[in-house]
């Protein structure tokens, strides 16, 4: 991919909304639930994770864009899109577990910030990541012909 900074941000936001959101709706009830938390609490936690990936992700995209400047091709190789899941996943979990600023209310005994089960977070995060990664590395172009020429932007300007 050869994203521009604005294209990166647009792609991230659109993909989280179009793929990440419905996938989270579908998968959350099937995720491990070691503390027998209520489905509400599971959903709140998983959507908070998704929100963190979206909001903090804007900062990550700035970092990636900066790193991209040192590449002659000014591209972002396919494999980079997978590898960066590691630092992003770690940071997302740390923020989630510390209690996101907009979600610090205690949920005693289950999915409380400070005790978010990794066994729940990791499958959710990785599946969302891989779905978005796989989609943006190909099938995306079936629906958005101009996306690859516009550096990942969806707005109508060439």
């Amino acid at each position: 991919m050869t994203p521009t900074l604005f294209g990166r941000i647009q792609t991230r936001v659109v993909m989280i909304l179009v793929l990440g959101f419905p996938w989270t709706v579908v998968i959350t009830p099937f995720l491990p639930n070691p503390d027998s938390a209520s489905l509400d609490d599971q959903y709140i936690t998983m959507f908070t994770a998704l929100l963190v990936v979206g909001v903090v992700g804007v900062g990550w995209e700035c970092v990636y864009h900066g790193l991209q400047q040192f590449r002659w091709e000014k591209d972002w190789p396919t494999i980079f899109g997978l590898v960066v899941a590691l630092p992003e996943g770690i940071l997302t979990y740390l923020i989630l577990n510390a209690g996101a600023p907009w979600d610090r209310r205690p949920r005693p005994g289950s999915f409380d910030p400070g005790s978010i089960p990794l066994s729940t977070f990791v499958p959710m995060f990785l599946t969302v990541w891989i779905i978005i990664w796989a989609f943006t590395n190909g099938p995306m172009q079936i629906f958005s012909l101009r996306w690859r020429f516009r550096g990942g932007r969806f707005d109508s300007n060439w």
């Binding site: 050869t2 900074l5 002659w72 629906f143 012909l145 020429f149 550096g151």
Partner: protein, 494 residues
Amino acid sequence: MQTPVWSDVDIAQHQIPIIDTPFVSVGGGMGSLAMIDTLRIAGIPAESLTVLSDLGVPSQTYEYLANNSQIPREERLRSDSSSTIDCIWGWPGYALREAIAKRDPKPAIQVFAEPILTEYFTPQAGQVYESVRREAQRIGWERMLRRGVVRTVRRRREGGYFVIHTPSGETGTTQGRIAYRCHHVHVAVGYPGVRMLPDLQAYLTKHNDYARVVNAYQPHLHVYEEALKRPCTIVIRGAGIVASRILQRLIDDRDLGNANTRIVHLFRSYPDGPQGESLTFRRPARRGWAYQAFNYPKAAWGGQLRVQLEQLEGEERSKLIDDMGGTNTAPRADWKEQLDRGNAEGFYQQLVGTLSSIQPSGNGIETTIQQPSGAVATLEADFIIDATGLEAGIEEHRVLRDLVDYGGAQKNPKGRLDVERDFLVRGTESGTGRMYASGSITLGGYYAGVDSFLGLHYAALRIADSLAENGFGSKIGPVRSATQWWKWARNIPI
């Protein structure tokens, strides 16, 4: 007929039959295919589109040039997996298709890991030609194609254009003239021709010796055949992708065919160390070769470099194109190994300089090489292969020259056709009719990679969008895009 604008009466007075068609694409090669494919997918019926060409299939000229420059069907082109000329969506790419066809995961793994863990995947020429044939058939190419030679494109007084065409008969002979009266025109005639370096051209003109001094893009198989029969000294000029392929062929013939060829590689400039003015704009160069995967950095096709170039004008734009492109070749490990070995064993020798004289001498050629240090070297060679490119000017093509002389077209800083960001040929508007151009004839405009599969698709999409804004067809939206892709995937004719 030497007037810039013609009327219907003018054409009638010359007794030229008129055929009405809304849209004509002149060329019939890969550029026309990309354009027509996009318009067909956008919903324009085949009956509204005419392709004027002397080519039977769109890949014909491409294959001819690739074959001459020693890329037969089984060899790989310098093209990205997703630059699928037969598929405007770019997915699935050539790598995935090759993996499926050969039941071998290697191409798919390569495209996943490129260029970090592996070299870039590039498609086999034959796979590309086969995909072109399939897509042309699917969109009804034969129904739109009119074989023959285009003479002129002129503006029509009442708006739109006349395209004067001499059809070719069943025997391939051309006779008579037909005027295609159309609203919009697309010109994609490819390279106006090959041009030799001036010193080589002077030698050819003086000695009429087209056997020993050859251009890499013209047929020159006799050189390799001769080199297999007896020890030859061959001088190569140029340090681009074609030079790389020619060297590979010569060294393969040494390795596999027991040729005893001595290669002298003459460089005009000799980069040896990273090229570029800053840490964020630097490409590797080593032993005379500047290395990058494709003609330009990838982002020139659709990333930040495309945006940057689009904002520049005139000489500044031309300079960025040169800085991103210029003479360069692909960093392939097998090529590097061959050259390093040749260097060590002495059969591949590099020289920097220019040819100050070329003279016939016995069965060969005597060349004098002027080196930058002032030293002069004399060299007896059997052949000289010019692999410096297809740099002919647009004046060498009659339709293009006529467009500049009578059609209102202008030249850009690189001497090619001056086009807008949407590939409209500036100065050629005719009423509500529009003329567009794509391909190598537009190099120097707002897009660098015009001479590539992906660049042809980009141009086609920009032109189709521009035409839609002018009332011809409609823009391809997400739903149409997806449903048409599904038809493409199942090879359903449209």
